[in-house]
């Protein structure tokens, strides 16, 4: 069997700060197969963006990848020489960021920014690159691409700019696309268009996609598999249907239950909430990272090591209490009171 498109194992991302070492990602593992869309979902500070950026080795200083392996088609990304890394970033992966407003250079025309990338990455000639740039803009659904290539970024709306970012990221036909919150800054109608575009690129070019998002709605729309992150750990991973219908981690359940729903209109019921606050990354408590907020916590949750255990084919959870729903609910509250 050929190696998967992307395999992350035991990834540890640490920051050296004056207050000591802070781990942003702890022992995270993830696989993306070719042609697959994998969602990485988590709340602010859960480490999802760091995990995503680690693949490109783009961890901002003073952060560093302290341990773990990242393999792209079997090649060890962390051991690549600068030249190999440059090639890897240019041809094999593309990345789009949350903010389409600050990712484009405001003083150059859109077409220029695309042709520059095409010439540098693919070694195309001027005319060839220009034709290709227009084709790319057309491919991501920008009307009148010949004329729009002459526009500056400020003349584009948020959704149009994100389309340009996608065109840039996919300019060299990468086999893996890293999309870090690509629709967070956009309106729902624009979001739906961008997600449809990602899905189309995925099915037409067989491109693997790692989609980072805090929005379960986005994940449900496009992903094949999901990994849920909490406190730097991946706490559950599985096919998207399994996560939605039979989540096996209390955090995933709590998160899914607390999503506002259109169907609630007209009912004055309260949303179920997860008590407490997310963990402080400077503190490392022994045992399960979710234990302080977990309504099903058991005494030995203080001592377990967090590791994903399979519960069904392709579905694994880090919760040691199984099935946790059978355990006594030790706490329950819907007030969201905070200490």
């Amino acid at each position: 069997m050929s190696p998967p498109l992307l395999r992350i194992e035991g990834l540890q991302v640490e920051f050296d700060t004056p207050h000591g070492q802070v781990a942003g990602v702890r022992d995270a593992g993830l696989v993306v197969e070719a042609g697959e869309i994998v969602g990485l979902v988590g709340e602010t500070g859960s480490g999802k963006t760091l995990a995503c950026r680690s693949v490109m080795r783009l961890i901002p200083y003073p952060g560093r990848i302290a341990a773990g392996r990242i393999e792209f088609e079997g090649r060890d990304v962390l051991r690549m020489s600068p030249r190999e890394l440059r090639e890897f970033r240019a041809h094999d992966v593309g990345m789009i960021y949350q903010d389409p407003f600050s990712s484009l250079n405001p003083v150059f025309r859109i077409g220029h920014q695309l042709t520059e990338t095409l010439r540098a990455n693919l070694g195309l000639g001027k005319a060839e690159a220009r034709a290709r740039a227009v084709a790319l803009l057309r491919d991501v659904g920008i009307p009148d691409p010949e004329r729009r290539a002459l526009s500056y970024p400020h003349e584009f709306s948020g959704g149009m700019r994100q389309r340009v970012m996608i065109a840039l990221a996919t300019a060299s036909n990468p086999r893996l696309l890293l999309a870090d919150e690509p629709t967070t800054a956009l309106d729902v109608t624009t979001q739906a268009q961008i997600l449809a575009l990602l899905k189309r690129l995925n099915s037409e070019h067989g491109m693997g996609v790692l989609l980072v998002s805090h929005d379960f709605g986005v994940i449900a729309q496009v992903c094949d598999r999901v990994a849920v992150m909490y406190g730097g750990h991946i706490v559950e991973t599985g096919p998207v249907e399994a996560i939605y219908t039979s989540a096996e981690h209390p955090y995933t359940c709590g998160l899914l239950e607390s999503i506002p729903r259109i169907e609630s209109a007209g009912q004055s019921t309260r949303l179920p909430v997860i008590d407490g606050v997310p963990p402080d990354p400077t503190e490392r408590l022994p045992g399960c990272v979710f234990k302080p907020r977990c309504p099903y916590a058991q005494p030995d949750c203080d001592t377990v090591t967090m590791a994903l255990e399979p519960v069904a084919p392709g579905h694994a959870t880090a919760c040691p209490v199984r099935p946790f729903r059978a355990a006594n609910r030790t706490r329950s509250s819907r007030t969201g009171a905070q200490v």
Binding site: Q191, H214, E241, Y244, P260, R261, S264, P278
Partner: protein, 274 residues
């Protein structure tokens, strides 16, 4: 929902924003067509009622909210709060109106003074408006914080020491400290994570029950409004295209724009049931 005359009555509200003229227009002495941010908007809000205001970015939701408290001066229309004409108010009367209408903004970090402790910020609001009980600072702050389910121990902290959810609770506590009748929440939960967002939404529902205040809840996420609002108003290009009971608007939308908005809304359920 209580019955009786509406607390807030907005009629035919209009706000234009003039665009800067281009060089060509200045030379030819022509004026560009102004952008009508709020176009003939009328709405009513009763005590103890939560009205959700939805629309895409640029639809005029925030301008409408700001017009109501006169952070932006409307160009036409009337605004009445409990029978008082908001647009005519000046000086002392306007200050009193502003006490009765409080706003909570999207980004609690920029709406709290980073150099003031939480307690000082809450107390100042009460003191400026001479609220009963504000002479006793400690008790005033404690009660304000407890109202939003925060412990009194936070009073000595500064905004940067708090999480996003806690900061937004502080911003709400400060707004409530002056005893408003109308609370305008402008995308107050939009920047928060789902688990924190759920806690805040429940808080708004609690406050409505306990204080019997009216809440104008502005949000671009329809599902958020579905959780809290009794009635919703959908805004598009400055106009209210549909207004009604939340269940009716979301269940059987009449307007094409509302339908499109609902169709584009990502469902946390699976798009294709497997």
């Amino acid at each position: 929902m209580s019955v009786g005359p509406p607390l807030l009555r907005v009629q035919g509200l209009r706000k234009d924003f003039g665009l800067r003229r281009t060089l060509a227009e200045r030379i030819s002495r022509t004026h560009a067509q102004p952008v009508r941010a709020v176009d003939d908007v009328s709405l009513e809000l009763r005590r103890g009622e939560i009205l959700g205001l939805a629309g895409e970015s640029g639809s005029g939701k925030t301008t409408l909210a700001r017009c109501i408290v006169r952070l932006v001066e409307p160009d036409a229309g009337t605004i009445e709060l409990g029978g008082t004409d908001v647009r005519k108010a000046r000086g002392k009367a306007l200050r009193e109106l502003r006490r009765r209408m409080q706003m909570v903004f999207q980004d609690p970090y920029s709406s709290l003074n980073p150099r003031m402790t939480v307690g000082a910020a809450i107390h100042e609001a009460g003191r400026v408006h001479g609220r009963p009980g504000s002479e006793n600072r400690e008790q005033f702050v404690r009660e304000s914080l407890e109202r939003v389910h925060l412990s009194a121990g936070l009073a000595k902290r500064r905004p940067r020491e708090l999480s996003g959810g806690q900061r937004q609770r502080v911003a709400i506590a400060r707004a409530l400290a002056v005893g408003p009748e109308l609370l305008i929440a402008d995308e107050a939960v939009s920047a928060l994570d789902v688990s924190v967002q759920a806690q805040l939404l429940n808080l708004f529902l609690d406050l409505r029950e306990q204080l019997d205040i009216a809440i104008l809840f502005v949000a671009h996420q329809l599902a958020v409004l579905a959780e809290v609002a009794d009635r919703v108003a959908i805004m598009n290009r400055g106009r209210l295209v549909e207004t009604g009971e939340a269940r009716a608007v979301f269940g059987e939308p009449k307007d094409d724009y509302t339908k499109a908005l609902l169709a584009a809304h990502p469902h946390p359920r699976l798009s294709s049931a497997a």
